[in-house]
Symmetry: D3
Subunit: 286 residues, 6 copies
């Protein structure tokens, strides 16, 4: 992952937290040269994401900090599970700097690990099915790149990174374009040879129109019940990737997966996943 | 609220979403001059926050858009409740621009209204008690000012905006400073006459030490059970503001409030509140 | 096109040109309130791009300037040809402001119109063939979004906007991954259902390996001679989009197109197209 | 050269290229820890500029990369010529990082070396004459500082860096100021003692007026034919620096230089010089 | 102090000073590899602040520079006095880089040390009295965090860092709110438990009203003469912190302090303190 | 003056002052819709600068504010004197917004008017002499463009805007270059035809060496006493512009001017001029 993106997020977080005054508590109570050692610990079981962001926060305020990552997201594509009480990383460095950076580091770790954990929970629920979990553009403003990566670390796949990656024709585009066929035709020209075209459909009739227009690369089957999804998969017959969406929860996801769709997109893993509870235990001063 | 802050958040969200390619779907399918009218609608009951951010998103891409806000957060200190299906605002403007801005506007509205709604739920649960809900610094990096405002709109009060507003002495500060008394004494000098000093205590013994050091402005009673909180409030006897914290949920908050504390701080209203489901219904093209 | 991107480019150009000193010549020689009218004129025939950037430059320094665009890039997907001497836009406003903005506006117009004109020239040369011109990532740092749009205005199609839009597996990726097949297989998983996978091949043997790995969405036929390209198109037999690349010039492009490829990518239209000569004629003061 | 300027350009280029998604191809196909060695090679003969920008790109993504520059622009004022096939620099480092940075580094190297090469070509054409090549403000928005340096590396001299360095009175300023004399007089006061004043003239009559106003520091002889230039140089008789400008090409520059002018300014070396073809040859993995 | 804030200030200063052209003098006259050693020296006695900013300037342009700080502001809360001729720091590094950074470093050191010195002068003048010097929000735009720290280094205390730290109710707020009592009551709710409320009063009558509204945390006694201040202190009787303000100079401050107030706020220490004269003596080349 | 520069300064000032919390006092005490009218008044006689910055501050927070400027710096080159009590501008607009912007606007007005007033004082002291006041690069980081303009408004002339405008060879450059002559010769080549070359000399011997090297455009006569300056002016005999510098105060400036130098540069007008006392009088609510 591009470290410039990570650093930019961390710098903005510090700008918010430090403002003009800085960390007046640590400056007052902690002697300038004192050092501490500590562990970042997951208070509950989960999949960790955001380790590089946390490290960046500590390093920006203490460029001599020693960090040993015990579990990570640097290099792995699917995430690492940590038990409740498990150590994420160990730190040793300047006491003031680490206490000042603590909240920023934990806010990022907790938020991103919450997303990875939620994604992993859904992925586990549909293990054995063909379907993969995918995310949406319902992300937190300013954090999209990090949240998309957290989804990958949780075992999910990424939908579009932004509006320029691929075409996704929705109901309003269809209405304005005057139908599914003209919308697809115009979109194909604009997309060129390097971008895919997906069409959102609500009914099997719309699906048939989409397929008749020369099948798009993917169809988004929105708010269909499992039986409808299964019928849609049958209709598509491999001519396009199938994606189910619309209010899918941990309770309903197995039924959705059983329909045979290729992807299940879930907005709440990025916009509503609760943070994973992660804290800093200071072990020994010095 | 400072509109420059809001605009900065929206611009960063657009940078993520539009990248180099822009909204290729709308450019392909929507004729350049076409116009639409629509309503932003809450799909579920909740307290709305972030209306100014949503308006900013639409206006940045269509400076001629007409918006009428049906409920709002511009001027009110406590939030406005909208029923499921209720209209947040009405829009009329350039079709391409409004469809391009839609997701950015809804991401902000949903996230911030989720926070306001969660806060309002807790505030309602303790109505009649002395205690007020307050937030923490466990906010989403880059969105703190907007999230703190959403807490106010939900009927909560704000704890520190950043590390420079006030002193909050925690366990690590105490350990390094060599005790509660020296920590408080140094903090008072650093705080000067315009910043408050709060001390976090875990036990009644620590509380007595803090009070003996000349009572700080506030004491944070961390992870105490209701009986302990009630005893702490008694001990403090009005000499400091009392604040309870630590894993407080909708289930436990009434018991906490019954202890007589002045404030109850809850981290999850900013880091884990689910987004409020809010969508755009396009009504009539043109 | 996202106006925030355009404005950001123009602001950076002004920061370079105005520095701390500003336009000392115009401040010294032009009375503060004086007004001028003028025309932006193409000195040579070409396809115009960058009109919105030029307008942005003039408006940022004179928010009351009146501009009438005589030809444009606002709404059209393929570009508008202007004869040598043809008017691009007419201006009327504050004399100091317009003279200060002149060079910034013309630098953008000339550069982007140069790209559109070069693209249009190649597109015209292969009219009647199946192939379309497409660009590369060989763009000028900081101007990619505007240059990609200029390519579209010149009648070309866009290849990737950045490294995250689509997978393009090149020789080095293949070497490190241990072959074409493992590279394609890993890439497909990473790409998910919304991103295409293209593979660059230098020989027909490599092409066969790529097709055997389950045809990728597109194959980039690099530095092949027309006969080889024709043979490659035959081999592909519609199973993937075909794209020719590698040192293609106005002289050789017809032979390339005659091979039957779908796309011809040309780096020089963005990195080496000469600027179109465009100037400002001040017509009447006042 | 100020490295902060260089780094800012590179960071913006990465923001464009990496967006939210990053380099999905390299992440998918290249194992996280693998290393490569390679050479940046000029495919054609030319003068190299932009080596520090290329190094910056590789270092920002791999802070442990080893680079040995074989030819350079760090310390020399006139540029270094490399033969076709000549090595610009050697690299050894993280494979993913270097492949991700490759295009950004090459885009900068190719563009800036193209400018240096074009400048050197013109400088060589007039060797033996008094005249020196100088550039204009017709630069690429966002890259002016780097392009001006490339001109120096190609053996040229720099005209103004921006509008605040010096006064250049053009036809429109003269028309609005009411003549050459009042324009020069006002400009001298504004310029103070640390900025030069140049006047653009189209005819010998205008030149005489400029000289009569107390000779300005320099006169820009615009669009004059060689005979006119020679007559102008004679008229000036050393009282001002003489500069010829206006559509000067490699074909016409010797005749211009033979007129005896001090400087010849050429816009196309910055706005229309073709990029020098430079590539990365990966030599041995690891 | 947060180094990101310091670095941001230094980078903006370089952007102003280096522009597109860079330090053409040093590039022309100083060979690329030459080295110098030098001392930063205070030409007059004073209290030093801004050492970290000066170091940052030198390090940004020469990351290998060796600096030994002889007196400092890194770790001390009250400032260090240097005699006229005293050394602030010693430098050894690249000659070009250090000469280019010199002015930026000295501008920051001189400005901030001027503030620390002025503060220390006032603090010395009232030694033995209860009162402490405090600053205001009358700071230089862009430098507030550094100026506030300089006040602390000079022995002063900080008033608000910004408008969000604490409430300060002034005459206009009172007039619009309809009186002191309603203004205080509304402010208390908004301030919550972590922010103090101060009220500015001009007369003893207003002071009595403020105290009667439940004493605010602090009262700002504006433009009162020493006798009035003494009477006000008596009236307050320890129920609120007392702060005197309004045109207090070195001549009048002892009389103000003798009134028994807790704090004396002085705007001119940040907006009008003369810079401390500090220069660079280059000692030995190499 | 470039409004983008002004706006950038104002936005940074707001970022400092508003932080995450905003103006909690005005939000608490001032009803959302209330309006006020007021006057910005100079408390003491002086020359006004920074009116556009103050207007920008009010307009950024209230885009409907009505402002009538009673004295100004928009269009005049030499500054306008206002008596103590004189009105700078009148305002009518949203009460909260104007009170929030007040301090930012006044900080800029006071600082810049202090510079203009100090400059005007020195200019008046040497009226009738040939010499003009000029500033230095000893400016406040981040405010150089505004401070340079304030110097002009006070009747002064500007020295270099930054290190790229002109060459100024100082003692350290001479020492490293191996003498005045080689330093001047190298500088002339680097400066080209559009940048002046000035040399700093401390003695008449150095001055003679500089003149012997082909006179530079200007000589900076540093720390010479009036008699030495007069002798230097005689020596120069019109071959270069003469500039006196070094600790010149209001007391000594007439003697310096009487020496016949062309310019007198004074650092303290930008780094140590006291702010002009300017305040906001709210006149009538509504």
């Amino acid at each position: 992952m591009n470290q410039a993106t990570v650093e930019d997020v961390v710098r903005r977080a510090f700008a918010e937290d430090l403002g003009c005054g800085g960390d007046i508590t640590s400056e007052a109570t902690v002697p300038a040269g004192s050092r501490i050692a500590g562990r970042i610990v997951a208070r509950r079981e989960g999949v960790i994401a955001g380790v590089d962001a946390a490290c960046c926060a500590f390093r920006l305020l203490d460029d001599g900090v020693e960090i040993s990552v015990e579990c990570g997201d640097g290099e792995r594509v699917d995430g690492e599970r940590v038990d409740g009480g498990g150590t994420v990383l160990r730190l040793h460095g300047n006491a003031r700097a680490l206490l000042t950076a603590e909240r920023t580091a934990l806010n990022l770790l907790g938020h991103l690990s919450g997303i990875a954990t939620a994604t992993a929970g859904l992925a586990a629920a549909i293990e054995g099915y063909r379907a993969r979990i995918t995310c949406t553009r319902k992300t937190t403003p300013g954090l999209r790149a990090l949240e998309k990566r957290a989804v990958r670390l949780g075992g999910g796949s990424n939908h579009r990174f932004g509006l320029g990656d691929a075409v996704l024709i929705k109901d309003n585009h269809i209405a304005i374009a005057g139908g599914i066929r003209p919308a697809i035709e115009r979109a194909r020209i604009a997309a060129g040879h390097m971008r895919k075209v997906e069409v959102e459909v609500d009914t099997l009739e719309q699906l048939e129109q989409a397929l008749a227009a020369g099948p798009p690369d993917a169809v988004l089957l929105d708010n269909m019940r499992p039986a409808g999804l299964a019928r849609a998969v049958e209709l598509v017959a491999g001519r396009a990737t199938t994606e189910a969406s619309g209010g899918i929860t941990a309770e309903t996801i197995q039924d959705v997966a059983a329909s045979g769709v290729d992807y299940i997109s879930v907005g709440w893993i990025t916009h509503s996943a609760p943070a994973l509870d992660i804290g800093l235990d200071v072990e020994t001063p010095g």
